[in-house]
Symmetry: C2
Subunit: 207 residues, 2 copies
């Protein structure tokens, strides 16, 4: 019989680790995102998320305002990660306005963005928008950021300022609609088709 944690003088094996509050929050948010991606919007229960994170269920209530609060933070994190990645690609594309917006288009339909697993996060979020003002405000903020990014790209392409708002709103809606369809029916619409459609639209806008 080998030594174990109960033997006198055995090396103690801590039953759990204490974590920095921020690190713990990130851990839980990432676990929530994984559960949403794997199980869908209805599978994101306290117990499933806690198990995924390797912690006790009670810990979620300790760090967030219940499951809703955690989902809200997860949405915020996932949106930031996805949109951050998209605009990082745009920056890496250099200074040419046309190249930048084309990179933006392609990035929006890359496999990591137009991913059915990602849709679950949005669905879980949309489910709560109708009844929770907190979620409504969060949607307003993130949507505004996204449209502002598009406005910048279009402005660099020489789109007149008085048309910017409407054209960016239209382009945002077009991308969202194609993204949704791509997530719901990956075998009905291809990413290349979506890219081609948005490209054609941008060319019509920028003349």
């Amino acid at each position: 019989m080998t030594k174990d944690a109960t033997s006198p003088g055995a090396a103690r094996v801590p039953a759990f680790r204490r974590a920095e509050p921020d690190a713990r929050r990130r851990t839980l948010i990432e676990a929530c995102a994984r559960v949403l991606a794997r199980e869908g919007a209805t599978g994101a229960s306290v117990r499933a998320i806690a198990k995924e994170a390797g912690v006790s269920p009670g810990l979620i209530g300790h760090y967030f305002a219940g499951v809703e609060g955690l989902v809200a933070e997860t949405y915020r994190a996932v949106v930031s990660r996805v949109n951050g990645g998209i605009f990082a690609e745009v920056e890496a594309a250099g200074g040419d306005a046309r190249a930048r917006i084309d990179t933006f288009i392609r990035a929006n339909f890359s496999p990591v963005v137009a991913d059915p697993a990602l849709l679950a996060t949005w669905i879980a979020f949309w489910t709560m928008v109708a009844s929770r003002p907190l979620f409504r405000g969060l949607h307003h903020d993130k949507n505004g950021e996204f449209r502002a990014g598009i406005e910048g790209l279009l402005a660099d392409c020489g789109v007149a300022e008085d048309r910017l708002r409407a054209e960016a709103t239209a382009l945002s809606a077009l991308i969202d609609g194609l993204w949704l369809e791509l997530c719901l029916a990956p075998d009905g619409l291809s990413a290349d088709q979506a890219v081609a459609i948005v490209r054609a639209q941008v060319e019509r806008i920028t003349g």
Copy 2:
């Protein structure tokens, strides 16, 4: 004390009515739609729907393949009603192709279509698309019908056949994206703005 159902000779008050299977199914579907609209996607439980319909919870299992089956039928019914209403307006608009497609655009953002309460039905449906092939097929069908309708409208406006598919896909996605945003944030985007955006797009397509 007045006579009641337990008094001898009192007019008998049936405890329940038997219904035609089709009528009962319609009743349950409509109740499900109302619950989805009022309570949201998470509130559509067997008990809530049965209470709304004024029947016993067990009856849902008798007529449908569980709650999922009822939600699937409800989605089918709501989509048919909404799209049917839209294309009925188009028919009522007469024979002029431009008038028809403009009516179509306005109908898509009328208060009864771009209704936040309606979004709950779509969300409940989208939640199940990822994991249930039945729902995936239903989405494919209904989406195809909608796009086919748009293709017809564009064809009548003289859009070349080899462009029809892509243009209709784009227009469908644009409408969906604007509709979604209108449902999620009714005070951020107005129906008139959405109509104007789609009008401009159609004019660019039809030349």
